[in-house]
């Protein structure tokens, strides 16, 4: 324990001295600050019904020429929205919904609004139907499921709307989010619930952590650990101690892992806490990204250690680590895209299969983490299903088994080399 503790601490000292800790810490702070700068707003259904109704005069359409907007002066006088009561006389299927009374300024205003809309849509010859049905249709587009619009028999200028929605995330404008401390407002219609929104942010962060930024920086940070131990004149000091060479090298490997473990726990924990603080979503599953990123690093650090032991150069080792990462991603992706090179000759197929078996499949570990994050959240919601499809289906046992074998082989080879050399 004494020896392991000493080497872990030493790795930390080394990382700190390299200013690596500064770079990594800066990135962690940026990620956490990004999360702290998020905000998520939710509107009540009653508020939304009034909003949708007041927007009847704002037309928009998509065409090949782009998006067209037109505003027609329509400013109804809205009464307060309230829950539908049984004696309001609406259809029983609307029970639990909202009702809202409104008055137009002059008679026939609704009909002329409908005509303007038909004109805006470019369907001049279309027969204008019942304006009440048109209003229902316009509100349905905003996400309401059940609707009834009726005239007040006692007042020719007054109408009453009954509306029901069971899937709030479908109502346009139900949720709004802003990033960078409110500097950037997202589109009004993000159509995502609070949980889905947080999930999407977490997936972006996980992607950065497991991919380009996190792994890249980690590999470059730790590339020098083993070569610096092997520096001429430094190694003698350690080898004269009663510690076997295998133990020394494996502990040094763990030293790199230790540094990355602390970093990823801080980044994942920090962003999780910041998101929880800003959105109130406290689901713990996102935290799985810490062990997942440590596992990916553990795999890629092994060839880096091997090359470090052989060449004793931090630069070569770092390049080798990145090379293994990119080459293996390339091989795994192309293998999957071509369904195992099914359409190639037997020779090509065989060698690519062999290659696929040997290389580490770190992208699968990342997938596994993201899959766990997505699957567990919001069982059947539609958006989640879409996200799930983006995660590939692979033979996990084979994939993880061969990846572990690759890691073990690299470390074993590194130890063998280290044990037999004269220094």
């Amino acid at each position: 324990m004494n020896v392991l503790g000493a080497i872990l601490k030493d790795s930390f000292h080394e990382a700190r001295d390299r200013r690596a800790l500064f770079v990594v810490g800066l990135m962690a702070c940026l990620a956490i600050a990004f999360c702290l700068g998020l905000s998520f707003h939710e509107r009540d259904e009653s508020e939304l019904l009034a909003l949708h109704l007041s927007r009847l005069g704002k037309f928009e359409k998509q065409s090949s020429g782009g998006q067209f907007l037109q505003s027609v002066g329509f400013e109804p006088r809205l009464e307060p929205t309230r829950r539908i009561l049984p004696d309001d006389g609406f259809d029983p299927s609307l029970a639990g919904g909202w009702t809202l009374g409104f008055s137009v300024v002059k008679e026939g205003e609704l009909e002329s609004l409908q005509k303007a809309w038909i004109e805006f849509r470019g369907r001049k010859n279309e027969e204008a139907g019942d304006p009440l049905r048109w209003v229902e249709q316009q509100l349905r587009v905003q996400g309401w499921q059940k609707l009834a619009v009726r005239r007040d028999p006692a007042d020719p200028l007054r109408y009453e709307v009954g509306a029901l929605c069971t899937r709030k995330e479908r109502l346009s404008g139900a949720y709004r989010a802003s990033i960078f401390f409110g500097l950037v407002q997202t589109d009004d219609e993000i159509n995502r619930s609070r949980e889905e929104f947080v999930l999407s942010i977490q997936l972006v962060l996980a992607g950065a952590l497991l991919g380009a930024i996190g792994i890249f920086v980690s590999l470059l940070t730790c590339a020098g650990f083993v070569p610096s131990m092997l520096t001429k004149g430094t190694l003698d000091l350690a080898l004269a101690r009663p510690v076997g060479r295998t133990r020394l090298l494996l502990y040094k490997y763990l030293g790199g892992l230790w540094f990355i473990a602390i970093t990823s726990v801080v980044v994942v924990g920090g962003t999780w806490a910041a998101l929880a603080l800003r959105t109130g979503v406290t689901d713990l599953r996102y935290l799985v990204m810490a062990p997942v990123s440590i596992a990916i690093f553990a795999v890629l650090y092994a060839p880096l250690v091997l090359v470090g032991v052989i060449t004793r150069s931090a630069n070569v080792a770092g390049l080798a680590g990145l090379g293994v990462w990119w080459a293996s991603s390339l091989i795994v992706t192309s293998y999957e895209l071509t369904s195992g090179f099914a359409e190639y000759s037997a020779g090509v197929r065989g060698s690519m299969q062999a290659l696929y078996t040997v290389v580490p499949k770190t992208s699968h570990i990342a997938d596994l983490g993201q899959r766990w994050l997505i699957e567990a959240r919001l069982g059947g919601a539609e958006g989640v299903g879409r996200m799930l499809d983006e995660v590939r289906q692979v033979d996990w046992a084979f994939s993880l088994g061969t990846t572990a074998a690759f890691t073990a082989a690299c470390l074993a080879l590194a130890c063998w080399w280290f044990r037999r050399a004269d220094y």
């Binding site: 001429k232 000091l237 101690r241």
Partner: protein, 311 residues
Amino acid sequence: MGAVDLAIEVRGLEKRYRGKRGVHALRGVDLGVARGEIYGLLGRNGAGKTTLVKILLDIVRASAGSAALLGEPSRAVHARRRVGYLPEDHRFPDYQTGLSAMEFYARLSDVSRVERKRRVPELLELVGLKDAAARKVRGYSKGMKQRLGLAQALVHDPAVLFLDEPTDGVDPVGRAEIRDVLLRVRGEGRTIFLNSHLLSEVEQICDRVGILEAGRLAREGTIEELTRVSGAWKLELDREADVAMQERLRAHALRVATHGRELHLEVAEEAALDRCVDLLREQRYGLRGLSGGRASLEQVFLATVEEEVRS
């Protein structure tokens, strides 16, 4: 002397480095150092001194022969439990401070926290680095680094201490400081194995000396034994002995040589020396001094190296 009493034992040790030129660094070395003895290994650069020490510490592997430390084969990890090493040209990782380096190497030797708390400040004090302990090693002078190296070699209270060129590259002041520390360490009953090409250093510190030349142990013995030369004498005269005089002396002496007013004679027996002095006095040479029987370690070393090169 039983094998168990030997702190260091080397038998028939050979080392041939792999590589294109395949340097044959050690060619069969036998050597024993008793516990508590201070042994100096002299040799030119490239003689194989460092290789010998590194084999004892399992940093380099022998091609043939055996090496043991405190009765344990040197390939065993636990043989190094009670062994300290100051490597030549060592480099502390420059992110370390004096203190953190001491802590680190102490923990590698499994020194307990309590022991470290006691020994680390004590040793830093001993080598005069107490005030510099919190500074990064990269800011240390060569002499300070060397003293820190000495402190880390002592941190786990080793029974055997290997010092490989402890004063190499250090200025005279720093060298004196290191020598002071060594003289203090000397009294603590440890076995010390000192590699050096600096004769004065070895002369001051060591009990016994070996001379390694081209991978072979050419001579070995106490400084007394090595420097005693039977039959060699140095006479100081009032003027230089002329050629005719030298010819006459050759009838009695095995070897005659002059260095200015100094006359060097090698004789088979002491009676022959007397006859030489008589001859000199007959020719009215004034005798101003007579000394003999002892060569300097430097002379012994140079003679040994020369001999080896010739053979």
